[in-house]
Symmetry: C2
Subunit: 275 residues, 2 copies
């Protein structure tokens, strides 16, 4: 069940960065050097666009662009984001279903010292280097949880909250009406992997944003944020000292290496989560 | 003053084939081998899109795509087609102003034996190989002649009607309210180059369409179509026999080689037109 709060329309194209990044990564096509986009990417269009004086701060590779052209045309034909995600997953031979939490428009926005910023303006253009006083998930309250995302949350053997940024990758999912309640009902089946290790995010602004928005930057702060939703916490060896504090809150705790430095480590972590 | 009846939205992108073709050609960047698009083009995005199962019948090269991304984003920012055309012309160092006849949406459509077809569906997908019973310039009657196109028509030293397809490249311009009247008032300053030579179009379906829609397929048929709008006709040596018939209608006639087989011939024709 994937966040769509990062989605944007740029150059007339509907771009779904979270869906695409997960799709490319699961397909083994992610660009390790860049940390985003596709392997073996080329930049012909972006180079020309830059020459034209167009908006080129959001880098779109030639291969990646095909995904956005495809999605944009399918949406215009009346397909939903859910249907397009299914088509792309089939094309890339993914074994799992990637479900946008909603087919309605949702936009994560940041109130900052320089005013309101869109997600990509904050994240890419400003490289998340600006003080945030509040995050708003515009449209979330009016959005409808998609039927397939609902069915997945209700019927899955267990629910895993990935070690993504709680405030900007997971919260836009939780804020869609119904999601938080459905997860709460199944809290004993919910396993969350802490996105903070020793108080820090491996990448991205999770620690900084939590601090700026008044959360403790530790596994305990993250646990506060997910209060009532999680049955089992998976934390890193580095945070072993917090295990008893967590257990005192009535949750199970697994301590392991949570850094997915390579596929082998990722596999090991997945085994802990699914065992 | 350029036709926008061919314009389309595809993959979320606003594409203006006539404006772009003229821009690329005047910039000396046209792809002679293909007969459309840009020189030195590559097809990375289109190849990927085809692999994805996307709509790939309308071929968009990587360099060309940058133009469409640029225009689409500028239009979304509130710019007009006229402004974007001016920006692109400046980028490509064009010495002339290319003016979309209107900033409003206009769509040339074809009534055929297989129903109503959009311009590109007729022209590109069906390769104009289908019987047409009528052409409709949807939106033309409600469109507003742009201020700069109006000024150009009113103030130009002379008006040249290019040897384009009268029915689908020139008529969508003439059907915008005001254009026909403004040109008629200046008919003595209007020079038209016949698009038919010996009853045939050099390329494209002009002759076939004229026949199907009941026009004589000759310079006389074309002259009938532009009745009252033209002061001087430029016809090819091959049509010298029609010169007196044309003159009998009260217009001047220049007979010359009108095939622009190479830049030298094009230059020579331009000299005849501007002398």
């Amino acid at each position: 069940v994937v966040n769509v709060g990062d989605d944007l329309v740029l150059h007339g194209l509907t771009i779904c960065p979270d869906l695409d990044t997960i799709t490319y990564t699961l397909a083994g096509l992610n660009n390790d050097e860049l940390g985003w986009g596709l392997r073996g990417e080329s930049w012909r269009v972006m180079q020309e666009l830059e020459d034209l004086g167009g908006e080129s701060w959001f880098r779109l590779g030639d291969r990646d662009l095909a995904t956005h052209l495809y999605r944009s045309e399918r949406l215009r034909q009346g397909a939903t984001k859910t249907e397009v995600a299914r088509e792309l997953a089939a094309h890339f031979n993914l074994a799992v279903a990637l479900l946008p939490v909603t087919d309605d428009p949702v936009a994560t926005e940041f109130l900052t010292t320089e005013g309101r910023l869109t997600f990509q303006d904050y994240f890419v253009r400003r490289r998340h280097d600006i003080v945030v006083s509040a995050i708003e998930i515009v449209g979330a309250a009016e959005a409808t949880l998609s039927a397939s995302a609902r069915a997945a949350i209700v019927n899955a053997d267990r629910l895993v909250i990935a070690p993504s940024n709680p405030l900007i990758s997971i919260d836009p999912i939780l804020q869609v009406p119904g999601v938080r309640e459905l997860i709460r009902e199944r809290a004993s089946d919910v396993i969350a992997v802490s996105p903070l290790i020793n108080g820090e995010a491996l990448k991205g602004p999770a620690d900084r944003l939590m601090r700026e928005l008044g959360y403790e930057t530790s596994v305990l702060g993250v646990a506060d944020f997910y209060e009532g939703l999680v049955g089992t916490w998976v934390i890193d060896e580095a945070d072993r000292a917090h295990a008893d504090d967590l257990r005192a809150r009535g949750v199970s705790v697994e301590v392991t290496t949570t850094i997915m430095a390579d596929p082998e480590n990722a596999r090991r972590l997945a085994k802990v989560i699914t065992s």
